[in-house]
Point group: C2
Amino acid sequence: MLDQYKQQRPYLVALDSIIFGFDGESLKILLVKRGVEEKTWSLMGGWLQPDESLGQAASRILFELTGLTNVYLEQLHAFGEPNRDPIVRTVSVAYFSLVKIADYDSKISGDFQAHWFSIYDLPPLLFDHGDMVDLAIKRLRYKAAQHPIGFELLNEKFTIPQLKKLYDAIYNTEFDKRNFSRKILSTNLLIKLPEKQKGFSRRGAFFYTVDTEKYHHVADSFLNFIPS
Amino acid sequence: MLDQYKQQRPYLVALDSIIFGFDGESLKILLVKRGVEEKTWSLMGGWLQPDESLGQAASRILFELTGLTNVYLEQLHAFGEPNRDPIVRTVSVAYFSLVKIADYDSKISGDFQAHWFSIYDLPPLLFDHGDMVDLAIKRLRYKAAQHPIGFELLNEKFTIPQLKKLYDAIYNTEFDKRNFSRKILSTNLLIKLPEKQKGFSRRGAFFYTVDTEKYHHVADSFLNFIPS
DNA sequence: ACAAAAGTGTTCTAGTTACACCCATGA
DNA sequence: TCATGGGTGTAACTAGAACACTTTTGT
């Protein structure tokens, strides 16, 4: 190995994931109580292994703790304050993830205590995980305003009122349902299904599904997605 | 140290900066030829030291190589493919920086060969630095569309035509000067100075300067900043 | 007086907002 | 039949796009 490399100090590299879910009413984050600090809630996290990329590591850790695969996962920010982990200096790369809460299997996390918390009512968090969450919420709002990523938090089939509730929850406001549905439908990203949702309202709302073809194709070209 | 930590492998952590500058005509990036790979152009980079945060390290490295302080520096993305550096596994956190090209002192980089390249005419780059640059350009476009960060690339005093040329260069297009100046001035972020630029055109264009007070205040609240 | 860049105004269009009533259905 | 949530239309306003002529001044 070259001198230039030998002189350098290595550091532990961790991955932490902010996992967003939506239960139909409010926007939630999945937190766990784990190892070192059993008394404090923290994000789901783990260590980078020698044979994997950062994204692969985040994805693996998410799978190990939740059983979920094929979820929306995006790098958020690297955190590296010298003392962010008081035991050993660790650089943590935070990811944020959007999951379909119904697909999450709570048995998987096994020895961990895991719980979904409303983003408006979070407990104190380990290390700088609170900063990570704050940034993730900001990023979600920023991003969801311009790209229709909200679908990632809903089931395959969903209704317009459900989607509106999700956006209401993300922005902690109430959008106008007429403008909302007009704007959403004008993207032409939704396919109306013949079935209606039963049981929730008397009339029942039509189910829609995402035109995944178009969705992935245009995913990068959106601006100004929030309705009034 | 706890077992959980001991079992983990540490990695080298590097910082690499994509440094944007604008010479009045085209948008440029500062590249160097350095140590290991003397034949290949690369981004300015260095190693994370034990006592500094990621941002501090990026800032220090930028200073050491360019003499610049107080520049716009923003974290871009962490890159961690297992073999991105074929010699030793290294995680690199990329930053992007906007500097006033006139302030850059080429003598500082000393033993390094350093050169400004047009973003539309870049040489092959070391490791995954090409990916970093691509992402940085994308981010600059995305960001400059919504936040008036363009000022960071110009001198204290600048003219509207200069600012338009900068935006033309960023987006590789030509904006309409009437719409451009209307939109820029409508932000109320510019203060018109009594002096005119001499020597470039016969008539001379008025200088403006940024109302830094307002600028920093509203920096986070901009959307839809690109004129037609 | 002319060349070269600076500066400025208007019309048209498209998108956003605000707002209220009828519909379908199960109980 | 009535209560509940689902679904839709229109008018006013605002922002963006397209477009051309006049002004200043050094040579």
